[in-house]
C-alpha cells in the first residue's frame, strides 16, 4: 500500500528516473557503436553532449526530491545510480577509442544501471523497459 506522500514522490521523481535511464542508454549506445566499429561511431558524438545536459537535469531534480520513509531506499538507489552514471559520463567525455576506455565507462555504467533496476524494484511506477506500448508486451486482457 502506497501512502499519499509516497505517491507524490513517485509522480515527481519518475522523470528523474527516466532521465537517468536515458543517459545510461545513450552511453551504452555510444559504447556499442564504438565496440562494434560502426561507421556512426565518431569522436565527440553529439549524443554525449545531449547525455550531459540530461544528466544535469536529472541531478537537479533529484536534489529537490523529498523522499518519504517508504521512498528512502528508492531515493538512495537513485542517488547511487546518478553518482555512477555521472562517473561513466565523465570517462566517456575523455574518449572511447580503446578497450580500456570502454571499460572505464562500462564498469560504472553497469553499476549505475543496476542501481536503477533496484530502484525500479522498490516502488511501483518506475519501469525498466517501456512495455506498455511495446509490441509484444502490450497489456493482455
Amino acid at each position: 500500500m502506497i501512502d499519499d506522500a509516497t505517491a507524490i514522490y513517485i509522480v515527481e521523481n519518475r522523470k528523474c528516473f527516466e532521465d537517468l535511464k536515458q543517459v545510461a542508454s545513450q552511453l551504452a549506445g555510444l559504447l556499442v557503436l564504438s565496440a562494434s566499429g560502426s561507421k556512426e561511431a565518431v569522436p565527440d558524438h553529439p549524443m554525449l553532449h545531449a547525455a550531459g545536459e540530461l544528466f544535469q537535469e536529472a541531478v537537479d531534480a533529484m536534489r529537490s526530491a523529498r523522499p518519504t520513509e517508504r521512498a528512502r531506499p528508492h531515493h538512495e538507489h537513485l542517488r547511487r545510480a546518478s553518482t555512477m552514471i555521472g562517473g561513466a559520463l565523465k570517462q566517456a567525455s575523455v574518449g572511447l577509442n580503446t578497450c580500456l576506455d570502454l571499460d572505464r565507462v562500462l564498469i560504472p555504467l553497469r553499476a549505475g544501471y543496476s542501481e536503477l533496476e533496484r530502484a525500479a524494484d522498490e516502488l511501483p511506477g518506475f519501469e525498466k523497459v517501456s512495455y506498455e506500448r511495446a509490441c509484444c508486451g502490450g497489456r493482455a486482457q
Partner: protein, 293 residues
C-alpha cells in the same frame, strides 16, 4: 532432396489472451488470441544456429507475468533441452530486431556469434539522443541489452551487418527490412535445398508478420497484405516486405514463419512439452530424428 537443415520453432512463453488489434492492423474490438513467444532452431551442415533468443526473465519476468499476462517462461536450457540441444552449443544467432523479447537473453548463449543489422543499432542510438517527447521511438528497448551487446562486440561476437548478406551459413541468407517494424529489422531465409534458385525456402520473419493475416489477409480467396499492429517505420515498407518474403518462398505463405503465430500447429507437426510449451517441426535433415512424434 533431403532438407539441408532441421528446423524447429520453440515456444518459451506465451500470452494467453492478447488483443488482436496489437497484431493485425485494424482488428479493433475483435477479441484476443494466444500469442506464443518463440525462437527458431536451425540445425544441419555441421551448424547450430537460432533466430532470436527470447527475453531475460531475471530482468523482466515478474513485470511481464504480473502486469502483462505473460505465462510459462522457461529458460533456453530447458526449452532447447527438449530437442537435445544445449545453449552453449549454439554457434550462430540471427537477431531479427532489438526488442527485449527477441534479443534479451543473449547472455544465455555464451559461445554464439550474434548477427544483427548495423542500422538497427545505430538508429536506436540516434533515437536515444532525441528529446524525451520522442521516447515512443525507443519502446521495447532494454538499456541492459545494449550494455550486454557492448561485451559481445568486444569479444568479437557481434557482427553488425549492413544490408543483405547471402550464405552467412550455407544456404542461409539475411535480408534487411529497413524502416519497417523497427529501424533495422531483418528476416532470415533458409534455402533448405542449398540451391541458388531454391525450391525449398523458408523465411523466418521476426515481427515483420505476427500472424498469417498479415501475409494473406482475412479472405483466402482474395488475399491481401495487412500491416502489423506496430511499426516504428512505415506500414508501406511493412507490406512491401511482406510481398518480398512471400515471393521468396514461391508464393506459399505458410513457408513464411511468424514466431508469434499460434496456428503453426495446424500446419506442421508439433507436440506440447511437460512444461506446456509447443515445439513445431518444420523440416528434418538427413539422419535427424523427429522431436515431435
Amino acid at each position: 532432396m533431403t532438407p539441408a537443415y532441421s528446423l524447429w520453432v520453440m515456444e518459451y512463453a506465451a500470452v494467453p489472451n492478447y488483443p488482436q488489434s496489437g497484431l493485425i492492423y485494424g482488428m479493433h474490438n475483435q477479441g484476443t488470441r494466444k500469442l506464443p513467444y518463440c525462437y527458431v532452431v536451425i540445425k544441419g551442415q555441421g551448424q547450430l544456429a537460432m533466430v532470436d533468443v527470447g527475453y531475460n526473465h531475471k530482468a523482466h519476468g515478474e513485470v511481464l507475468a504480473n502486469t502483462y499476462g505473460v505465462r510459462g517462461w522457461h529458460p533456453p536450457h530447458e526449452v532447447l533441452g527438449e530437442i537435445g540441444i544445449k545453449p552453449e552449443d549454439v554457434s550462430t544467432i540471427f537477431i531479427t530486431h532489438c526488442h527485449f523479447d527477441h534479443m534479451g537473453n543473449i547472455e544465455d548463449f555464451p559461445k554464439a556469434t550474434f548477427y544483427l543489422q548495423e542500422r538497427e543499432l545505430s538508429k536506436w542510438v540516434w533515437s536515444m539522443s532525441l528529446h524525451r517527447r520522442f521516447r515512443w521511438l525507443m519502446l521495447g528497448i532494454d538499456p541492459a541489452d545494449i550494455m550486454r551487446a557492448v561485451d559481445l562486440a568486444r569479444q568479437g561476437r557481434l557482427v553488425a551487418v549492413d544490408g543483405d548478406r547471402e550464405n552467412v551459413l550455407p544456404g542461409v541468407d539475411l535480408h534487411a527490412a529497413f524502416d519497417t517494424h523497427t529501424w533495422g529489422s531483418m528476416y532470415v531465409t533458409v534455402r533448405n535445398d542449398l540451391a541458388t534458385n531454391s525450391q525449398s525456402s523458408w523465411v523466418f520473419c521476426g515481427d515483420l508478420a505476427y500472424g498469417y493475416e498479415n501475409l494473406r489477409g482475412h479472405d483466402p480467396n482474395d488475399p491481401e497484405y495487412i500491416p502489423i499492429g506496430l511499426a516504428t517505420g512505415s506500414q508501406f515498407n511493412v507490406i512491401m516486405t511482406a510481398d518480398e518474403m512471400v515471393k521468396s518462398v514461391g508464393g506459399d505463405v505458410h513457408r513464411v514463419i511468424p514466431p508469434h503465430e499460434e496456428r503453426l500447429k495446424d500446419l506442421y507437426p508439433s507436440r506440447i512439452t511437460k512444461a506446456g510449451l509447443r515445439i513445431t517441426e518444420l523440416a528434418l535433415a538427413d539422419g535427424e530424428k523427429s522431436q515431435v512424434r
